[in-house]
């Protein structure tokens, strides 16, 4: 072997360990899941004993009303939750991006909800929503209003899980946006002030556009996460009443443990993965398009 070809091989040699880890830690489980989704597999069987049924699990899912409803609930939940959290999180960051005494303490306080274990969050909210001894209904009743069926009515239950999720995850968007705000170039903001921009104009035309790359990544992370929420909803409503809060990850969990259909659960997980991949790619493409547009504009400006 010549020295030149050995040299060419060297980078691959160094990459090999990482590649191996990737293959075992990432591709093997995913391939396993994809393979499992083609099986009629009961947890009492070993995977080798399961019957190969081709795409039957997928066909079954598409004709299953409960699955479609659960997919709908998931999309609705993700959209509502992420929209509210983005508005609140970014809003809070804009409000608190200033020198206040004790800011570091405040910041820590704000991100506390994120640090609590999801099971505990679920339990906490479940007790607060309790129809008779929960703090919300107790307060409402002491003011002379009727209690609200927080978890026992379909639409209220959906709103209740949204509220709990917003409470827990707004801080995530808040700290990332705050970090983005504080790393913005002071010169741009000063320049805009000298040009006479009002506070609103500063936010709309300077701060938000400059924060956009961070915001997009934040949005994406939250979106992916919100598709996979399980514990909080499991503890609060277990998907009920009816199927009104049965998001996909809960349905996957039930399909595997309660219905004992591992193949179908794998097929659902794959569909969830595909939805998330589409979302991620759309974001990336959008990002790339934005970059390209900005580059084009810059080029045009430079020519002028």
């Amino acid at each position: 072997m010549s020295i030149a070809s050995t040299n060419r091989m060297t980078p691959y040699l160094f990459l090999a360990p990482a590649g191996l880890v990737l293959a075992f830690a990432l591709f093997y489980p995913i391939c396993y899941m994809i393979y499992a989704s083609f099986l009629d597999w009961n947890p009492s069987q070993r995977i080798g004993e399961a019957e190969f049924v081709g795409l039957r699990n997928y066909f079954k899912l598409f004709s299953d009303d409960a699955f479609r409803e659960s997919m709908g609930v998931t999309l609705k939940f993700a959209a509502v939750v992420v929209t509210i959290e983005m508005f609140l999180g970014v809003g809070l960051a804009l409000l608190l991006d200033r020198n206040i005494r004790g800011m570091s303490v405040l910041r820590t306080l704000f991100i506390l909800p994120m640090m609590i274990a999801p099971i505990v969050v679920g339990l906490m909210w479940r007790y607060m929503y309790h129809p008779t001894v929960g703090i919300f209904n107790k307060t409402l009743k002491s003011w002379g209003f009727d209690g609200i069926p927080w978890l026992s009515d379909g639409s209220w239950a959906f709103a209740s899980v949204v509220i709990a999720d917003v409470w827990q995850w707004t801080p995530f968007i808040f700290i990332l946006s705050l970090a983005a705000l504080q790393s913005l170039p002071a010169s741009a903001i000063e320049a805009s002030r000298i040009d006479g921009a009002s506070g609103w104009q500063q936010i709309l035309y300077i701060k938000l556009p400059l924060m956009l790359p961070v915001l997009i990544v934040t949005l994406l992370l939250r979106l992916i996460d919100s598709f996979k929420v399980l514990e909080v909803i499991l503890v609060m409503t277990n998907g009920g009443p009816g199927l009104s809060t049965e998001i996909l990850s809960l349905r996957i969990n039930r399909t595997a443990s309660e219905f004992r259909e591992l193949g179908e659960a794998a097929a659902m997980s794959n569909l969830l993965l595909i939805v998330l991949l589409i979302l991620t790619f759309t974001m990336f493409i959008y990002n790339k398009a934005q970059d390209a547009r900005a580059a084009r504009l810059r080029a045009v400006e430079e020519e002028v």
Partner: protein, 448 residues
């Protein structure tokens, strides 16, 4: 390697209790137990009041036999997942398992539980004084036997795979003081039950009529089936055609809806624990569920209704039919100490120990235990429970491998009836149609 793995694995379990006792058998039973002296049995029990009582008598077993017992206690729904993994191994770690009644179908079908015939035939193992005829019929039929009628019930082709241990039936618990105050008679049939359930909130503002399970999923399904059997309905007919949408089914759904509507506030999210808590806290006047909750009502540290609770039989619809459920114990096919496990199983369910466990707060598996004077003195409701067991219906819900899917569907649909005003007939028609598809796929109509 394996022993090592087992060690790590059992260390990870939150509640692992090890009993080590004196390794000397007493004179009386030495011959029977001697070959197994020094063996350590690993058993899997649920965290449940009955099994907490069992833990109190277990050290006695080690003392008498020299067989040590290591108990792995898990939450009862988690138990199933762990067992599913354990039972598919070549050599299992569990020698004796407690299983939830609806696991019977899966375990027997997958050939994971030992047929007990060969142990009861073995003169060295089987105790001639065991008196199997004293075991409660409904429980044995429901939890122990498979292979007879419809596959999951006793019959000429059936055989025994487990012994009921920690089994339950349903009774009606009611507030004696409230009933007396308003001159209400204890309901004995469903018309009276529903009437009283809706009368209470008018007479006692702020108090619900009857607390019931109703949460979406398994709980709502359980509550519906509780009324289906006494009102004359079944989920399937004898040829596995779904008949859940019959007039009897609709009547059961309406009964449940009436009970929940007239029940305590927020009742549509109740599981059994919440429903029992509502009764314990005095926010509902009746509670119809498992007998396992009775001990809690009489516990002054948890309950505000101690001494005010009366117990009656599950009211009659067109027939009597209280539920059967709870746990049984069986020997896994991949167990490593099967004979010693059988000896433990036989010891635990013997007359003496059944009584000892009942005295410690467990659920008896034997008629003779319910008739025991000492037990009736300690727990005055025992006689009523013994009476209720005569009407325990082993077929109030089907125990078949496809039940998990159908049960969940009944539960979510019932929840929609209770919370979203879905019409019961329409709801049950939907359930029947989907159940037929599930059964068809599983091959139940192959012979038709």
């Amino acid at each position: 390697m394996k022993a090592n793995k087992t060690k790590i694995w059992s260390a990870a379990i939150a509640v692992t209790l090890t009993y080590t006792g004196v390794a000397y058998a007493d004179g009386h039973t030495a011959d029977v137990y001697a070959p197994y002296e020094g063996t350590t049995l690993v058993v899997n029990f649920p965290a449940h009041p009955h099994y907490n009582a069992v833990l109190e008598v277990l050290p006695e077993f080690t003392e008498q036999t020299g067989i040590e017992v290591e108990v792995d206690q898990l939450q009862y729904l988690k138990m199933r997942e762990r067992q599913t993994l354990e039972l598919t191994k070549d050599e299992g770690d569990y020698d004796l398992i407690s299983y939830v009644v609806f696991s019977k179908a899966d375990y027997v079908y997958a050939d994971q539980l030992e047929n007990l015939a060969k142990y009861f035939m073995n003169p060295r193992l089987a105790d001639p004084n065991y008196d199997a005829s004293d075991l409660i019929d409904g429980y044995v039929a429901n939890i122990g036997v498979a292979g007879g009628e419809k596959g999951y019930l006793p019959g000429k082709t059936g055989s025994l795979f487990g012994i009921p241990f920690g089994s339950e039936t349903s009774v009606l618990a009611y507030r004696k003081d409230i009933f007396e105050k308003h001159g209400i008679d204890v309901p004995t049939n469903y018309d009276q039950l529903l009437e009283v359930a809706c009368q209470i909130p008018e007479l006692e503002p702020g108090m619900g009529g009857m607390a019931s399970r109703a949460a979406s999923g398994h709980q709502a399904s359980h509550a519906f089936l509780l009324h289906l059997a006494p009102l004359g309905g079944r989920v399937f007919d004898s040829e596995w055609n779904p008949i859940i949408n019959s007039p009897e089914g609709v009547a059961a759904a309406n009964a449940l809806k009436t009970i929940v509507d007239c029940g305590p506030e927020g009742g549509t999210t109740f599981g059994p624990a919440e429903a029992a808590a509502s009764f314990q806290q005095g926010t509902s006047a009746m509670f119809m569920d498992s007998i396992a909750f009775a001990a809690g009502f009489e516990d002054p540290s948890k309950s505000t209704v101690v001494g005010k609770v009366g117990y009656a039989l599950h009211p009659e619809g067109v027939r009597r039919g209280s539920q059967t459920g709870g746990f049984g114990i069986g020997i896994p096919s991949n167990a490593q100490n099967k004979e010693a496990a059988f000896l433990l199983m036989q010891w635990l369910t013997s007359k003496e120990q059944d009584l000892a466990i009942a005295m410690a707060g467990g659920n008896p598996s034997r008629f003779s235990t319910y008739e025991d004077a000492g037990l009736n003195e300690k727990y005055p409701y025992s006689a009523t429970f013994g009476e209720a067991l005569k009407y325990a219906d082993p077929d109030w819900r089907p125990i078949i491998p496809t039940w998990g899917t159908i049960n969940a569907d009944i539960g979510t649909t019932m929840s929609q009836v209770l919370t979203e005003g879905l019409d019961p007939q329409e709801a049950l028609d939907g359930v029947a149609e989907r159940a037929r598809a599930v059964m068809d796929e599983a091959g139940y109509y192959t012979w038709q």
